[in-house]
C-alpha cells in the first residue's frame, strides 16, 4: 500500500524542499509526478527500493565473497591433486626409463638375466601400469593422453618380451627387438609423458594462484561504498545521520572483508613459498631422476651397440645436462656416478670394450643407485610436504566461506531492519 509523505506525518526529509505541494489523492500524485519539476516524493516506495538495494548489495557480497573463498578452497584442493598427479606422471616417466635401463643392462651382460634385475624391471613396469590407471582415475582431462600412453607402454613391454624370448634362443634379433622398443619408447611414449608433465605442472601452478585477496578487498570496498551511499541517501531524507541497521551491516562487511582478505593473503603467500619451495624441489628432483635414468640407459645402449659412442654419448651428455640444469640437490651422488661413467667412456674410446662392459655391469649400476634412491626420496618427501601443506587448514577456509554466506544474509536482515525502522517512523 503506497502512502503519501506529508511534512506533518513524517520527519522532514533532509533534501526534499519544504514547500513541496502535497497531492490529496493517488491520482493527483500521479499527475503531479508526471509534471516536470515536481518535488513530490513517494517515500515508502523509495524506502522499499533502498531496502531492496541495500539487502541485495550485502547478500550479493555474502554470496560473491563466499564463492571466491569457496573457489580458493577448491583451488588449494586442486593444487594438491594436481601436484600429486604431476608427481604420478613423473614417476611413470622415471619408472619407464628405469625399466629401460634395467632391460638394456640385462642384454649387456649376456646370457641369462639376473633374476633380481628381472624382478626390478617387472616391478618398475607394474608400477607404471598401476600409476597410469591411478592417474586416469584422478584426472579425467589426462585420460586420452594416458590411453595413448598405455598403448605405447604395451608396445614397449611386448618388444622387450620378444627381445628376451629371442635372446634366450641366442638369436641376435632379440637385441634388435630391444633396441627398437627402446627407440620407440623415446620417440612415442616420452613425448606423451612430456605433455602430461607440462599440463599437470601448469595446472598445479595455476591452482596455487587460486587465492584472490585483492579481489576480496575490492569487493569489500565497493560494498562498503554502496552502504555509505545508501546511508547518505537515507540521511538526506530523514533526520538521523547514521542508520543503525546499515551501520551494523557495514561493520559485518568490514570485519568479513578484513578477515577473508587476511586469510586469502596468508594462504596466497603460503602457496607462493610452497611453489618456490617443496613443490619446486619435488619437480626438480623428479626431473633429475628421470634424466639420470635416461642417461643410464644410453650408457648401456652405447655398449650394447659396440662402437656407438659417437651416437649415444651425445645423448648421454644431453641427459646429464638435464640433470645438471634440473637444480637437483643430489649433485654429490650424481658426480659419483659420472666418474664411473667417464671411466667407461675412456675405456670404450680406447678400444677396451671388454673392460668398459665389465665396469658398466659391476660398478656403474652400484654407483648410480645412490643417486636414484636419493632423488626418489627427495621427490616423495617434498611432494608429500607440498600436498599436505595445500590440504592443511582447508576446513577453516570452507567454514569461513559458509560463515560469510550467513553473515551476508545477517547483514541483509540488518539493512532490512534499519530501513524498516524508518518506514515505521514514517507511518
Amino acid at each position: 500500500m503506497s502512502q503519501t509523505a506529508t511534512p506533518a506525518s513524517a520527519p522532514p526529509p533532509a533534501a526534499a524542499p519544504a514547500s513541496a505541494p502535497t497531492p490529496a489523492t493517488p491520482a493527483a500524485a500521479a499527475a503531479a509526478a508526471a509534471q516536470p519539476g515536481s518535488s513530490y516524493v513517494d517515500t515508502p516506495a523509495l524506502l522499499n527500493r533502498w531496502q531492496l538495494i541495500g539487502m541485495s548489495v550485502v547478500i550479493v557480497f555474502g554470496i560473491v565473497s563466499a564463492l571466491m573463498q569457496f573457489v580458493g578452497w577448491q583451488s588449494d584442493g586442486r593444487a594438491a591433486d594436481d601436484t600429486e598427479q604431476l608427481l604420478r606422471v613423473q614417476e611413470v616417466k622415471t619408472s619407464l626409463l628405469r625399466a629401460d635401463a634395467l632391460a638394456t643392462n640385462a642384454f649387456l651382460e649376456g646370457g641369462l638375466e639376473d633374476p633380481a634385475q628381472r624382478k626390478e624391471y617387472d616391478d618398475a613396469i607394474d608400477g607404471v601400469l598401476a600409476d597410469i590407471a591411478a592417474a586416469a582415475e584422478a584426472q579425467p582431462a589426462d585420460r586420452e593422453a594416458l590411453a595413448a600412453l598405455n598403448v605405447e607402454v604395451t608396445d614397449y613391454t611386448t618388444g622387450v618380451a620378444q627381445g628376451r624370448d629371442n635372446n634366450r634362443q641366442n638369436f641376435p634379433i632379440g637385441a634388435e627387438y630391444l633396441a627398437t622398443a627402446s627407440a620407440d619408447l623415446r620417440a612415442s611414449a616420452l613425448p606423451i609423458l612430456d605433455e602430461l608433465v607440462e599440463a599437470n605442472q601448469q595446472r598445479a601452478e595455476d591452482a596455487m594462484n587460486g587465492q584472490h585477496p585483492v579481489w576480496l578487498f575490492l569487493l569489500g570496498v565497493v560494498i562498503l561504498a554502496a552502504l555509505v551511499w545508501l546511508n547518505r541517501e537515507l540521511a538526506r531524507h530523514f533526520r538521523r545521520r547514521i542508520n543503525k541497521g546499515i551501520a551494523v551491516a557495514a561493520a559485518i562487511v568490514l570485519v568479513v572483508t578484513l578477515v577473508t582478505v587476511a586469510g586469502a593473503w596468508i594462504r596466497d603467500s603460503s602457496n607462493d613459498s610452497l611453489r618456490e619451495g617443496e613443490f619446486a624441489t619435488a619437480v626438480h628432483e623428479a626431473n633429475a631422476r628421470t634424466a639420470g635414468n635416461n642417461a643410464k640407459a644410453f650408457e648401456s645402449l652405447r655398449l650394447i651397440k659396440r662402437g656407438s659412442g659417437s651416437i649415444n654419448e651425445p645423448r648421454w651428455e644431453l641427459a646429464a645436462k638435464d640433470v645438471a640444469d634440473s637444480g637437483t640437490r643430489e649433485t654429490g651422488a650424481w658426480d659419483a656416478y659420472t666418474k664411473v661413467h667417464q671411466q667407461i667412456v675412456e675405456l670404450d674410446d680406447a678400444g677396451d670394450w671388454d673392460q668398459a662392459r665389465k665396469l658398466a655391469i659391476e660398478e656403474s649400476g652400484a654407483a648410480f643407485q645412490p643417486f636414484d634412491d636419493a632423488t626418489r626420496t627427495a621427490v616423495e618427501k617434498n611432494g608429500a610436504a607440498a600436498t599436505d601443506d595445500l590440504r592443511s587448514g582447508r576446513w577453516f577456509a570452507l567454514l569461513l566461506s559458509g560463515l560469510t554466506l550467513l553473515l551476508g544474509v545477517a547483514a541483509g536482515l540488518s539493512v532490512a531492519r534499519g530501513i524498516g525502522e524508518r518506514r515505521r517512523e514514517f507511518s
Binding site: E109, G110, P172
Partner: protein, 309 residues
C-alpha cells in the same frame, strides 16, 4: 521481481565461475611426419670392368701399420646383428661371425689389438672417409661406384642376392614376378630393392635400419618378403622357422671385399697378402665351415683374387 533477477544474475555468475574451473584435456603430441627415405637419389652408376680388381698383395707390415688411425689398434666396422656374419652372441655379448673372423685375422697379422665397432650399412663409407675406422668387414659388396669412394681388398666371399619369404609362400615362389604388389624389405641405403624393381616394377619397397629390422617387420606382418645377400638371408631364416629362402635364380652377384679408406693402399696390399695366405693354408675354409656352411648347407671354395689395380 527484482530479487529474482538479482538471484538469477548471481547464480549465473556462480555457474560461470565454476565452469571456468574445468580442465582442458591434455594435448597429445603432434604425430611426426614419416621421415623421408635417407637413401640418396639414384645416381648414374659408375661403369668399369675391373670392380673386383684390387691392389697386388704386399707383406709390408710397417707401411700398413703407419696407416692405422690409432697406434697399435685396428678399428674395424662390423655388423652387430647379421647372424653368422657379424653378430653379438647373446650368451656372452661378444661379437662373432664370418666377417669378424676375417677382421681378427688381419689384426693378428698386423700384430695389433682388434677394436670392433658395430656400424650401420649406411655408415660404412662415411666412417671410412671421416677416418673413424680403419677397415670395414661388413658384408660389403665391391662395385665400381664404391671404388670411387673407398679401396677394397681382393674378394673374400662371393655372395648372391636372393629373396626370403614365408614358408607358406616358398613353394609358390618362382622369382621376382611373384613379388608383384608385395611389400619387400631391405636396409636403408642399399640397392637390393632397386635390383628387384628393375625386374618387377610393382614391388613395394619398404626400408628398415638393417636386415634384422626387416625380420622384425616380417614377424609383425609389415612386409611380405626380405631381399638381401644369401649369407644374410640364411642367418635370418635360422632365427625364424616360418621363413625360408626358396630355390631361386640369383638376382645379382655380390662379391664381398674388405673396405679401407681409399688412400690406405699399403693397408689394402697387406690385407690382400693375409687373404692370400688364408686361402692357401685352409684358414679361409675353416672360417667358412664354422660360420656359413651350417646355414648355407653347401661347400664353397675361396674366390680367386684378381689384382692389377
Amino acid at each position: 521481481m527484482m530479487r529474482i533477477r538479482v538471484l538469477t544474475v548471481t547464480l549465473t555468475a556462480t555457474a560461470a565461475l565454476l565452469a571456468a574451473c574445468g580442465y582442458d584435456a591434455t594435448p597429445l603430441p603432434e604425430p611426426q611426419e614419416a621421415a623421408a627415405s635417407s637413401a640418396p637419389p639414384a645416381a648414374t652408376p659408375v661403369e668399369c670392368d675391373n670392380a673386383t680388381q684390387s691392389y697386388s698383395p704386399a707383406n709390408d707390415k710397417a707401411a700398413a701399420l703407419k696407416q692405422l688411425i690409432n697406434k697399435g689398434r685396428l678399428v674395424v666396422g662390423v655388423s652387430g646383428d647379421t647372424y653368422k656374419m657379424g653378430f653379438t652372441d647373446p650368451t656372452d655379448g661378444e661379437l662373432k661371425g664370418f666377417d669378424v673372423a676375417f677382421a681378427q685375422e688381419i689384426a693378428t697379422a698386423l700384430g695389433v689389438d682388434l677394436e670392433l665397432r658395430v656400424i650401420l650399412a649406411s655408415d660404412r663409407i662415411k666412417m671410412l672417409d671421416e677416418g673413424q675406422i680403419d677397415m670395414v668387414a661388413r658384408n660389403m659388396t665391391v662395385n665400381c661406384d664404391r671404388w670411387t669412394q673407398v679401396a677394397f681388398s681382393s674378394v673374400y666371399y662371393n655372395a648372391t642376392q636372393k629373396v626370403l619369404v614365408g614358408t607358406d609362400e616358398a613353394a609358390k615362389y618362382t622369382g621376382p614376378a611373384s613379388l608383384a604388389g608385395k611389400r619387400v624389405c631391405a636396409p636403408t641405403a642399399t640397392t637390393s630393392v632397386a635390383n628387384i624393381k628393375k625386374i618387377e616394377p610393382d614391388v613395394i619397397a619398404v626400408e628398415a635400419a638393417n636386415h634384422t629390422g626387416c625380420l622384425i617387420k616380417f614377424q609383425n606382418s609389415e612386409v611380405d618378403a626380405i631381399t638381401g645377400d644369401d649369407t644374410v638371408l640364411a642367418g635370418l631364416a635360422a632365427q625364424d622357422p616360418y621363413t625360408a629362402v626358396p630355390q631361386q635364380e640369383k638376382l645379382t652377384d655380390e662379391p664381398y671385399g674388405l673396405a679401407f679408406n681409399k688412400d690406405d693402399v699399403a693397408l689394402v696390399k697387406f690385407a690382400n697378402s693375409v687373404l692370400d695366405q688364408m686361402r692357401a693354408d685352409g684358414r679361409w675354409a675353416g672360417i667358412y665351415d664354422e660360420w656359413l656352411k651350417p646355414t648355407l648347407k653347401v661347400d664353397a671354395t675361396p674366390p680367386a683374387p684378381v689384382y692389377g689395380r
